[in-house]
Amino acid sequence: MVENAADGLYAIELKGISKAFGPVQANRDINIAVPRGTIHGIIGENGAGKSTLMSILYGFYRADAGQILINGKPTAIPDSQSAIRAGIGMVFQHFKLVQNFTVLENVILGVEDGPMLNASLAKARKTLAELSREYEMDVDPDAMIEDLSVGHQQRVEILKALYRQADILILDEPTGVLTPAEADHLFRILKGLKAQGKTIILITHKLREIMEATDNVSVMRRGTMVDTVKTAETSPEQLAELMVGRKVLLEVEKAPASPGEVVLSVQDLRVRDEHGVERLKGVSFDIRKGEILGIAGVAGNGQSQLMEALGGMIRATGSATLKGQTLPLSGKGADGQSRRAVGIAHVPEDRHHHGLILDFTAWENVAFGYFNDPKYQKNRLLMDNQALRADTATKMETFDVRPPIPALEAKNFSGGNQQKIVVAREFEQDPDLLLVGQPTRGVDIGAIEFIHKQLIALRDAGKAVLLVSVELDEIMSLSDRIAVMFDGQIMGFRDPDKTDERELGLMMAGMTGKGEAA
C-alpha cells in the first residue's frame, strides 16, 4: 500500500467493494485508499471494472458488499445527490451539459438558490471568476456550450463540480476527446487543483497520461484491484504487464511484406452525401495480396465514405475491380450481402451503429451479415441457433472475449470485447479483401496487441487489407504502404519506413510533401 501523504488522512477509502451484474462480477472485493491532495490514477483494460467502481462511488450503483469512507468517515452513497454532498464531483467521459445554455446557466443548473435566477447567476458569475483565476481556467461565462470546443466544455464540467464544492474530483477517461495540446492543458489544471489540496482520481487506459500526471496508480484487472504503486517507482512496461496479467509488446512485430497480385483496384471513386456534397473526390489505388494499405488522415476527410462505398453501404461512382471482376458501386450487387459473397469482410468504423446490434446477444451478432451462411442453417427454413451458439463459443475462446457468454447481450460487453466480437466475426470469414476501420478505437492495450497481431497474421496469409485509422501510430506500425487522405482525395502514398509523423502530418493538413499533387 501507498504511504500516507501530507497529513496521513485518506480522502477516499473503499473497503471490500463487490458488485455483480447477473453472471458478471464487475467488482470483486476492491480495496483502495486515496491520500488527500494527490492525483490518483486508476488504470485497467476496458471491462476491468473501473467505471463500475466509480459509479458506485458516485451513487449510480449500489455495491453488493463493502464500505465507503470519505475523509475517514463511513459514508453511505445511495444516489448522486449524496455523493455531491460528500464532496465528490464527477466529470464524465460524455459531458452532461445543456448545449443551448450558457456556461453560467449550466453551472448553476440544479443548484439554483431560489425560483428567480438573477441572484444565483450573479453569485455564480463571481464564484466562477474566482475559480477561473485560481486554476487558470479561462472560460467565458456567457458563451453558449455549443459554441465551445470540447476542451472548453470539459473545463465547464470541472467548474461545475468545483462550484458544487467538490473536494474529490473524478475524471473518467478525460482525454479521449481532447487533442494533445488540450490534454496537456488539462493536466496543468489538475496539477493546479492538487496544489490547492483537492484530491483527483483519474480513470484512464492510457499509460502515458498516468506516467505524466499521477502520484499513485492503482491497477485493475478483471474486476479486482491488482496493485497500487507509486508512479515514480514504476514504468509503462510494468503497468501494462499488471493490467493485462502478462508481458505486453507495445510495438508491433512484423516481417516485411511480400505483396502478390492486385486484389482490389479502385479508379476515380466518387461519393456524394445526401446533401449533394461530394465527399470523395476521385480516389484511385490498388491493394495487393499480402499487403496492408493504411489510410491516414484527420477524421472526416472521406475515409468513412471510402469504407462504406467499398462495403456496399452507400452508392458511389467510378470503377472498382476485385480480383479482375467488376465490383458494382451502385444498383444491383452493391450491397452488404453481395460484398460478403464475393469475399469482402468489413470491420466497420462505428461498431455501435453498424458493426453490432447492441440489443442482440453475442451469438446473434456473430450471424450479423452472415445469416445466410449455410453453416448456420438447419434446413431450408430454419436457422441452426444451436450451431451458431457453438460457433460463437469457439470464436469467443479464440479471440479471448470476456466474459465468454454467447447469450449475453452485446451492450453488456465492454468496448474492447465488443470490438473483439466484430473482429472475430469478420476475420474468420477467410476473405480476400478485409476492410478495417478504426480497429482499436476505445479498445484497451491487451486487445489492441491481439487485434494487431491478427491483422498481421491475415496479411501474412495472403489477404489484402485496407486499414483506416485516425491513430497515426497505428497506421505507421501496421501499414506496408500509407495513403494520406485530405478533403476527399489521396494526397500521396508513402513508405512507412521512409517517412515520419511530420511529413504525414503536413499531408494530412493538405500540404503535399514533395510537390506530388493528388
Binding site: G311, G336, I357, F368, F371, L381
Partner: protein, 366 residues
C-alpha cells in the same frame, strides 16, 4: 439503474400494473355510485366461471390474438401498424367474397379458401402504406390510421351498393351458405363435453394459437425473422449487413396485414356468418394494447388476448346484469392499457426501489 430479476420483469410488472388498473377502475365505479365488488363478481362469473362464459371470452380472445400478433410482427421491424382495424375489415370482405361466390363442397375447404382470401385482402390493405413508407418515407403510423377510415368507407359503399341483397334493409351482405359455417366449440367432439350450449368461440381459436407458434418460429428461428429483428433494432446496422430495407418493410407489413385480415374468419365466417358494416368492432385497436401488454412476444400476446377477452365479455355482462353502463368496460380497458403500456416505467421504477430495499441487508451480512 439496477435491474429487476427476470421473473419480476416478465410477470410481476404486468401483474402489478394490472392490479393498479383494477384499483382505479374500482374507484371510478365507486364514484358513479355503484358497488365495485358486485362489478368484479359479475365480470368474473359471466366470463370465466362457466363454460358458456368461456365460450364468449375465447371468441373475443381469438380475434385479439390475430390482431395482437399482427402488431407484434410489425413491431419487431420497428413498424407500428395501427391499421389492424382496416386490415381486419378488408379481411372480412375477403371472407365474404370467398364464401358467397365460391361453391365450397365442405366447410374445411371453405375455411382454407376463405382464410387465404382474408389474409390476402388484409395483406393487400397493408401493402399500400408499406410501399409508401418504403419508397416515399410516408410515416406508417399516419398512413395506416388513414387506411382504417378508407377501409370503413369502402366497406360501407360495397355493402350498401353491391353486396346487400335487394329488399334487405340493413347494410350487410347476404347470409353465407350453410356449408361454409365453421364448427363452434360446442360442435367439436370431446370439446363439446365442456361446451354444451351454443357458443361463438369456434375452430378459428386453434388457427390463432397455431399462428402464435408460427410467428414465434418466424421471428426467432428463421433468416427472415433474424433480418426483421435486426432491421427493427438498427436500420443503420441493417445497411451494413446488407439487409434490404424495402424488402423487410414490405414483407413484414404483408405478414402483419395478413394476420390482421385472418381475424375475419373468426368473427365474419365463424360467428356472424355474413359481412356486417363494422365487422372488426375495434379488435384492430385492441390488438395494439394486446401486443404492448404481451411484450411483443407471441406467448405474451396469447395471454394478453385472453385478458382482453375477459374484459370484453365481463364488460358486456356488466351492461346486462348491473346498472353499470356497458361503456365501463372501455374505461377498464383504457386503464389497463394506460397502466400496462404508458405507465409501465412507473411501476418498474417502483419495483426496482422495493427490490433495492432488500439489498443493503445482504450487504451488511456480507
Amino acid at each position: 439503474m439496477d435491474r429487476l430479476p427476470r421473473w419480476a420483469d416478465v410477470a410481476l410488472v404486468p401483474l402489478v400494473s394490472l392490479f393498479l388498473a383494477f384499483v382505479i377502475s374500482a374507484l371510478v365505479i365507486l364514484a358513479i355510485g355503484q358497488d365495485p365488488w358486485e362489478a368484479i363478481t359479475v365480470m368474473v362469473q359471466g366470463s370465466v366461471m362457466n363454460a358458456y362464459g368461456w365460450g364468449y371470452t375465447l371468441y373475443y380472445a381469438t380475434s385479439f390474438m390475430f390482431t395482437g400478433l399482427a402488431v407484434c410482427v410489425a413491431f419487431h421491424a420497428s413498424m407500428f401498424n395501427i391499421g389492424g382495424e382496416g386490415q381486419a375489415q378488408l379481411g372480412g370482405l375477403g371472407v365474404a367474397l370467398a364464401c358467397l361466390f365460391v361453391p365450397w363442397p365442405h366447410w374445411s375447404l371453405a375455411l382454407i379458401g376463405a382464410g387465404l382470401s382474408a389474409a390476402a385482402f388484409g395483406a393487400l390493405w397493408a401493402a399500400i402504406p408499406a410501399w409508401m413508407q418504403a419508397k416515399r418515407g410516408s410515416h406508417i403510423v399516419i398512413t395506416t390510421i388513414m387506411f382504417n377510415y378508407i377501409a370503413a368507407s369502402l366497406l360501407q359503399y360495397l355493402l350498401v351498393n353491391q353486396l346487400k341483397p335487394t329488399g334487405q334493409a340493413d347494410p350487410a351482405s347476404a347470409t353465407f351458405p350453410e356449408v361454409t359455417n365453421l364448427p363452434a366449440l360446442n360442435d367439436i367432439p370431446l370439446i363439446n363435453l365442456v361446451f354444451t350450449k351454443a357458443v361463438p368461440a369456434n375452430i378459428t381459436l386453434f388457427i390463432a394459437l397455431g399462428m402464435a407458434v408460427l410467428v414465434w418460429v418466424l421471428l426467432w428461428h428463421t433468416r427472415l425473422g433474424y433480418q426483421i429483428r435486426a432491421f427493427g433494432k438498427s436500420e443503420a446496422g441493417a445497411r451494413y449487413a446488407g439487409i434490404n430495407p424495402t424488402f423487410i418493410i414490405m414483407v413484414v407489413m404483408l405478414i402483419s396485414g395478413g394476420l390482421a385480415g385472418l381475424m375475419a374468419i373468426n368473427n365474419v365466417m365463424g360467428e356472424a356468418e355474413r359481412l356486417l358494416g363494422n365487422s372488426a368492432s375495434g379488435a384492430g385497436f385492441i390488438g395494439i394494447a394486446v401486443a404492448l401488454m404481451g411484450r411483443n412476444h407471441p406467448l405474451g400476446v396469447v395471454l394478453a388476448a385472453l385478458l382482453f377477452g375477459f374484459l370484453f365479455q365481463g364488460g358486456a355482462e356488466l351492461g346486462l346484469w348491473t346498472k353499470i353502463p356497458i361503456e365501463m368496460r372501455i374505461v377498464v380497458q383504457g386503464l389497463v392499457i394506460l397502466f400496462t403500456g404508458a405507465l409501465d416505467m412507473m411501476v418498474r421504477m417502483l419495483l426496482v426501489r422495493i427490490f433495492a430495499l432488500f439489498r443493503p441487508r445482504r450487504m451488511e451480512a456480507a
